[in-house]
Structures are given as C-alpha cells and as structure tokens.
Symmetry: none
Subunit: 243 residues, 2 copies
DNA sequence: GGATCTCGATTGTCTATACAAGTGAATGCG
DNA sequence: CGCATTCACTTGTATAGACAATCGAGATCC
C-alpha cells in the first residue's frame, strides 16, 4: 500500500498517534483547538481523506469533538478503555508504561480432559494442545494463563515461540475472533497458582474463563488467573438503545 | 450535497438502512454473506468509498464482521448484550428457578464522599442518596448492593420501596441507561460485608463497581459484592474484528 | 448602535481511481 | 495424487478533487 514509512503503520494511524501524544503530554489541553483537516494535510503531506480519518476515529473514541463550520477540539478526558473486550495482556501492560514479559512453563499435547472436550467439541481420546504461561508486569507475576487449543483449528500452535508473542496475538492472527464466552469468578489460588504468581493461599484471585470462536468453530479454552490485589478488569460499555 | 434523494438522507445511510432491513426480516441470516463493496456500488450507483462507509459503520456497530480477502458477513444478533450486561439480579435469580428477596438495610441522604463526588460529578458538600440492600437467593444472602444515586437525576429515589422493586428496575424506568463503566475485582470481605453475607473473612468475593449514565449525565455509582463461591459473572460477547 | 449581508474557514458527503494485501479456488506440474 | 503457482475476488489504504452545509466574524447599511 501507499505507506509513509517502512514500519507498516498506516498514515492515518500515525496522525492519530501524534494527536494523542500532544494531548497526553498536555500540549493540547481540554477544549483546545486541534489542527484542521487542511492543516494536517500540509503537516503530514497526506490527502484530506486521510487526515479526516484520523480526526474521525478519534472523535468516535471520544477523544475529540467536532462541529461543522467551527473546528475540532480536545474532549474532556473520560475513562474509556474497553471492558472485557478481548484484550491482549501485553498491550494492557505496555499501555500502563510497564514492561511485559512471559515465562513459558509448559507447551505440549495432552489427552483431552472431559471439561475441555465439552467446551471445544472434541472427543476425549483426541489430543489437545496445552500451554501454560506466566505473564509479568515489570518483575511482578501478574497472570497465569492456562490455555487449551483445538488442534483442528490451529495445527501449528506447538511450533510457536510464546516468549515474544502471546498466544492471544498468535491466535488472533491465524483464527480471527468472532465470538467469545466468559465466566468471571473470585477464587482462592491452589498451590500451583500460588507458586507461579508468588501468592499466599489467602489472597483472592480473579479467574476469567474464556472460550473463543472463529468462523470455523471453537478455537481455545483458557483460564486466566490474576491476583486480585494486582489486577482488575475494567472498562466502558456502551448501551445501544436498539439492543 | 450530492444526495440520491430529497429527504436529506445521505447515501451511505440509505445503504445501511437497506442492509439492516434485510437482516431484520431474516432475509440475510446470521453468518450469511453480505454484498461486496463492488456489488453495492452497482446496486446503489455510488462510488466504492460510499458503499464502503456503510459496511464499515455497520461493522463498528457489531452488525457485520469482515475479513480481508474473504468478504462481509452478518454477525450474531446478540452482539451488544454481552458480558457485564446490565442485568437485574432479581431476574437472574428467578431465571435459575430460585426465589429472590431483598432486605433494605439503609436508605438515606448523605454528605457526598470524595470518591463518589468524583464519580458522579457532584461537589463534596452536596448531599447524595444512598441505599444498602442485601439480595437473597432463596434464603441465602447472595449480594450486597451499596449504591450512591445522583439526586439531580433521580430526585424521588428515597421515596421508593425497594423490597418489591430493585434499584436497578426503578432506575431503568426513570433514567434509561445509555452507558456504563465497570471495574471487576477479587477482594476479601470487610467485617461489615461478612456480617451481611454470612461469610468468613477468608472467602474471596467478586466486587463489581458500576457507574451508570443516562442521557443527561451520571446517574448512580454502585458497589455490588458477592461471595465468590456463590456467584459468577458470565456472558457471551461478539467480537467485531475491526475493533 | 443594531440588524443584515457577505465571505472565508471548517467540517460533511461523494466521486473515480490507484495500488496493496489477504483468501480461496482453479490450474498445472512433477 | 500431492504440491506449488496462478488468478480472480475482496477488503484495506490512499489520492486529488468537487460540491454542500454550517458557523463566526467582519463589513455594510439603516
């Protein structure tokens, strides 16, 4: 495509980044004027439709507001990260300005446990892929990810290197998400979880059980356990008047 | 502007209407293929960018999902009502075939705590309404609901009888939900919570902090605490690949 | 001064085209 | 048959321009 740089970042995304950075650093305070579409065209040497797209998407995200005939302005800062949207924990940690790393504890093929067979629609004698990963926020263990993956949907799962790419990233690439089921529970950690997350047995944990689907069927079944004192699920949910 | 009709409806909006009508009447069932951008160009005599905009906006709304190189398809209808769906706990309990009852512990006006003032956009010297309710599933205490309500939005809150109608039901009627923020945490119960939910201090609890908005502004700020061993949040979430 | 008009700046809609990139099915080869 | 290649189709990004609609400010007129 026509790209302004080699990194693969679309131009409209670069403009969005620029605007967001100006807002985050305080250069452009609340209600201050943002460059017009025409001005961004000159500044970034792009067409008006490209500059417009950047402003448009930021408006949809609630970062800006615009008025025809007047201009575009910085909106009031509101909490707006997305709720149980399927988020990549690595992105989440980096969004906080922290460093994410992952420790791969296990990556193997297993005979399918009954619960998993039911969730993924497999027979119990069929093998299922299994990965166990500890995610770190800086040096603190944050989340234990135990994931069962359907070999029919993702045959090359065991060949991946999950130190540099989270299972979520890989699965998103090879089997685009179409649906997901979730269960959120508060539990006490078992011995195994205590060890990997460096917890005492009395610290409550948040456990998210997530089953993901792609067009073809069930892809993976994951247990994501985090220390309650270190993690919260949060976000913003828009209610559509139609629904 | 260049408009295809006199009604002032933009062309891209007309295409959206057409697609939505086909889905609503069942002509285009779930996961069925939607006309490609090129096909819509021919059908509506518009440029590709206009047809694209219609498909794009419907995708952002969760009505369609698209895959590069493949096509556009009808998403599952349940999309919006997802996880952390705004559910009424009474309905939830009755859906399980159990009996719901509520015990009103407190219903009063209070000076606004700082945290609540921030959440609801009130001054700290202004009063705020407060209700404290224990919800029972059959005879078992299930959830402790501590709720702060914005008097400007719901002036008659203190006059309600919350034994026969949950705050959620009443608020839904007088200030229809438009948005909500959520935080989900795993916590250990304090002494007060232990007493009302009949818990020991080591039982983990799920705490949902929810702030609701209606068109006019922030309506209420609620802490919903449930015993982890008795309650789980669950749901189904459709993912729009664009997000 | 006060009301009205004009005009420039800005956003909104739309066209026609171009190239990039991903998918899946048909094709051809060993 | 199995495998790789090719090709058509589809969506993604981007351009350069056009006209429409709205608002605010300055100019004009009374």
């Amino acid at each position: 495509m026509q790209r302004s740089n080699d990194s693969g970042t679309p131009k409209f995304a670069a403009i969005k980044e620029f605007i967001l950075s100006q807002i985050e650093t305080g250069n452009w305070p609340e209600h201050s004027r943002v460059p017009s579409e025409h001005a961004l065209c000159d500044q970034f040497a792009v067409s008006r439709m490209t500059a417009r797209r950047a402003l448009q998407e930021l408006t949809e995200q609630g970062v800006l507001y615009r008025t025809q005939g007047v201009g575009s302005f910085v909106a009031s800062p509101k909490s707006q990260s997305a709720l149980l949207e399927i988020r990549n924990i690595a992105d989440e940690i980096q969004a906080r300005g922290h460093f994410h790393s992952a420790q791969l504890v296990q990556l193997t093929s297993l005979p399918c446990p009954a619960l998993v067979a039911g969730a993924l629609g497999l027979n119990r004698n069929e093998p299922v892929f299994f990965s166990l990963i500890v995610h770190y926020d800086n040096q603190t263990p944050l989340q234990l990810e135990a994931r069962y993956v359907n070999p029919k949907m993702v045959p090359l799962y065991l060949q991946q290197d999950f130190h540099y790419q989270t299972p979520h990233e890989y699965l998103s690439a090879v089997a685009p998400l179409t649906e997901a089921d979730h269960i959120v529970e508060a539990v006490l950690p078992d011995e195994f979880t205590c060890k990997h997350l460096k917890l005492t047995p009395h610290e409550p944990c948040l456990r998210l059980t997530r089953r993901t689907f792609s067009r073809g069927g069930a892809v993976s079944f994951a247990f994501l356990t985090s220390a309650g004192s270190r993690y919260r699920l949060g976000g913003h949910l828009n209610i559509s008047p139609a629904g």
